[in-house]
Subunit: 189 residues, 2 copies
């Protein structure tokens, strides 16, 4: 099952900000929809006013057992009604990153950049879900989806600032930061 993020003219999320952090941006769109699909080949033509990014949830790549135990102790559910803020952050890493071995990538990811350790303290208030895109031939390698209550907005800024300050981030070749607010539900929904 693939998850497809579609920027366009309608969707359950309103785009409040869409900006490149590094590299080319994506087209500005007023809305974002999140759909689940058995196929990544959706019949949607690329256009200047919309885009689609697909990813898949997968097994853990870097997390070690003790870290997994800590993560599992802080389950952060996606879809909480009170989490009306979200961010979609697509990232592409450089060829140099992917030429590293697993142990070298893990060394940069956690031992030098403390990716998991730094992220843990924001759980479960800032829920996140990682989608893998690289092996799907997508323009980005990862799509990270974050959800949180408005009161966590400052904490979220701190989290992304921390992640961008680490050694790991030097291998980021392209990153777009898309901030979202949940559209108010109407009685029909």
């Amino acid at each position: 099952m693939f998850t497809v993020f579609r920027g366009g003219r309608s969707g359950a999320w309103r785009v409040t900000r869409l900006a490149s952090v590094k590299g080319a941006s994506l087209a500005q769109t007023p809305s974002l929809s999140v759909v689940h699909s058995l196929s990544i080949a959706l019949p949607i033509l690329p256009s200047l006013t919309s885009w689609r990014l697909a990813g898949v949830t997968s097994h853990l790549r870097y997390t070690e057992r003790t870290e997994k135990t800590e993560l599992d102790a802080r389950p952060a559910a996606i879809g909480r009604p009170e989490a009306t803020c979200a961010a979609l952050i697509p990232i592409k890493k450089s060829a140099a990153w992917w030429a590293l071995t697993q142990e070298e990538r893990r060394g940069i990811f956690e031992d030098k950049s403390h990716h998991i350790e730094n992220s843990l303290k924001y759980l479960p208030a800032i829920a996140r879900q990682l989608y893998h895109s690289r092996d799907l031939g997508e323009p980005f390698d990862f799509l990270t989806w974050f959800e949180f209550e408005p009161a966590q907005a400052d904490a979220f800024e701190e989290l992304v600032r921390t992640l961008r300050a680490g050694e790991e981030w030097k291998y980021v070749e392209r990153e777009v930061d898309i901030r979202l607010e949940r559209e108010r539900l109407t009685p029909d929904e």
Copy 2:
């Protein structure tokens, strides 16, 4: 770029044997073709007499730096004209395997099962290419393609026997073993 293996009535490879090693088999087909595609959604309907399996080459998952150096020193090219024998071995691992962390999987893969060490001695005579399928929503997790000269047939049997004897193989839930011979080239090809 995806690689699609299509079992059917025509193709550059003649199927000499197709048998389940564990779990459900695939339909018997006389031929196999290998095509490269920008999409995994090929317009081919599933049928009782054919099948298609897609995968993608990707970055290294378990190989460490010293092993990579050894592997790189024994480049084994796919497509040598004298390598008229091939095998396609699709494998699906169990949910228990994928619930393990990377370090636990690596421990079973190499430290206990010596997957890389055992495979190294057959290089470059038995060339191999691994395709990842799991994140594509495919029925198998991996497709491994092997190519070798007829004189290496016994060595190849030894290699697959070794891989199936290790601890890692206990996590294999489904495996099909497809043996192939290159169709004789005609002047038109």
